[in-house]
Amino acid sequence: MTATVQSSRWHFREPGVIPGFRLTFGFAVCYLSLVILIPLSGLVWHSSNLGWDAFWALASDPRTIAALKISFGSAVLAALINTVFGLVVAWVLVRYRFPGRRIVDAVVDLPFALPTAVAGIALATLYAPNGMIGAWLADFGFKVAFTPAGIVVALVFIGLPFIVRTVQPVLEEVDREIEEAAATLGASRLDIVRRVLLPGLLPAILTGFAMAMARGIGEYGSVIFIAGNIPYVSEIAPLLIVIRLEEFNYAAATAVGVVMLSISFLMLLIINLIQAWSRGRFGHG
């Protein structure tokens, strides 16, 4: 970026006057390796010790598959719900002025700041059949707490800020003149939103969706209190890891862990691809 003139000699880093590269880079890489990379590679190493057949038998165990499906499915569903409502929230926060807007804006970050266990017991109490919302839903014959729907409710709570906080800054940057131009050319308001604004917001929406989903697949604390945790019905994959560990079945825990880690890497790759595509196409990431 800064170096347009490159010497023919291969440099690991571009020369400059600022000191401290060795110290800061060295410390950062050592700490990163010790705390994150070595422990994570230990997980992969353990699973490779199992051998492929044993690993596959553990990973394709029906209870494991069911748990992964439940985690994945609820994460997708929650991210979809959050995309719709997150967009509305971001829109209202950016476009409308109303008293208390700053407070509402700050509250959106609550799921980032509130411990997941607290969110879990609060949501479980709210949506339980005798809870404030649960009792009301029960009148209509809906049961949320202690069913798979409860998982989705918890993941909606956890994922909301991801969509709002990725869409909001992009929406703030939108040039209002584009909308005016579209309006002078006779486009209706709905057309403008649908065909002028939404395409520009798409990369942010997709990024937020993928981030909310990645978080949802791995989420544990807020879900276990509300889910009911019945194997094959409402047992999420992270909980299955905990159960296997409590049984001292480290091999099975490792297998589920590796599958989940692979999904995380895949999601990380997808998020990076979306952002690269967005930078290329829209000039912002």
Binding site: A28, I36, V92, F112, A113, P115, I121, F225, Y250
Partner: protein
């Protein structure tokens, strides 16, 4: 006049009715998912009165969990802060190969399930590992003890400070530092008197979020803690135990402290963002 207003609005803004509906949807959704859970925690915590709340908080096991939570945060947050500053300095002030890859690696803990963050340490220090029994021979307990809980917390809160500082320091560039250095300041002087004042709000912001997560972490800590009451239970774990014992009032009383932490975090965060904007 009214007709005129409406015809002007309809071109680049929604009609008042659409606007009202959108705002109603947004508020209802936020109230349902964000506001009501807070109300429930506080109302359940004080359901049996202030006396019962104090009794639940002053219970020896609850106090022990509060102490442990504070201790773990007091170790893990400063470590991650030092890492965050060092990583941001290396990444923002220098051009080197593999920088994008390094940034991706730093973000990695955000996309890993908290349970896996705990699992990796169980595998590394558990009874079936090489390291665990060896350290035990020296009398050092990692798993089901404070060091394991701290390590898991460090893993989970690893990116917060670095993530806040990297874009900030990249935006600020190196011109200020180069000026200080050319005037004869040493590297440390430059950092302390030039860089640190420039990044202080971003640093505080990152530390705040890091701390909130460190004190509230549940999944990762739950896997490595062993749930020994009064010894290895952090506040979130203590809440789980109380809740599973159907001691809801006490569970929500401890939870209300963490709600307080979350609210203080949000207020300070908003205040810092305002300062940023000025």
């Amino acid at each position: 006049m009214a007709d005129q207003t409406i015809s002007i609005q309809s071109a680049t803004a929604e009609t008042p009715l659409v606007r009202l509906v959108l705002m109603a949807i947004a508020f209802l959704f936020l109230a349902l998912f964000l506001f009501l859970p807070l109300v429930v925690v506080v109302s359940e915590a004080f359901r049996n009165g202030v006396g019962a709340w104090f009794q639940a908080i002053l219970d020896p096991d609850a106090l022990a969990s509060i102490r442990l939570t504070l201790l773990v945060a007091a170790i893990s947050v400063p470590l991650n802060m030092v890492f965050g500053v060092a990583a941001a300095w290396a990444i923002a002030k220098f051009e080197f190969r593999g920088k994008a890859f390094l940034i991706t690696l730093i973000d990695l803990p955000f996309s890993v399930s908290p349970v896996i963050s705990g699992l990796v340490y169980v595998l590394l220090f558990g009874s079936g590992s090489v390291l665990g029994p060896w350290l035990k021979g020296w009398g050092i307990e990692i798993l089901f003890a404070v060091p394991g809980i701290t390590l898991a917390t460090i893993f989970v809160t690893f990116p917060f400070v670095a993530r806040e500082l990297i874009p900030l320091m990249q935006d600020q560039g190196s011109a200020d530092e180069e000026a200080a250095l050319s005037l004869g300041a040493s590297g440390w002087q430059t950092f302390l008197h030039v860089t640190l004042p420039n990044i202080r709000w971003g640093l505080l912001y990152g530390v705040l979020l890091c701390n909130a997560r460190a004190m509230g972490e549940f999944g990762a800590v739950s896997v490595v803690s062993g749930h020994i009451r009064g010894l290895t239970d952090t506040m979130p774990l203590h809440i789980e135990i109380l809740y599973n014992e159907y001691n809801f009032a006490a569970a929500f009383a401890v939870a209300s402290l963490l709600v307080g932490l979350a609210l203080v975090t949000l207020v300070l965060k908003t205040a810092i963002e305002r300062r940023y904007a000025d």
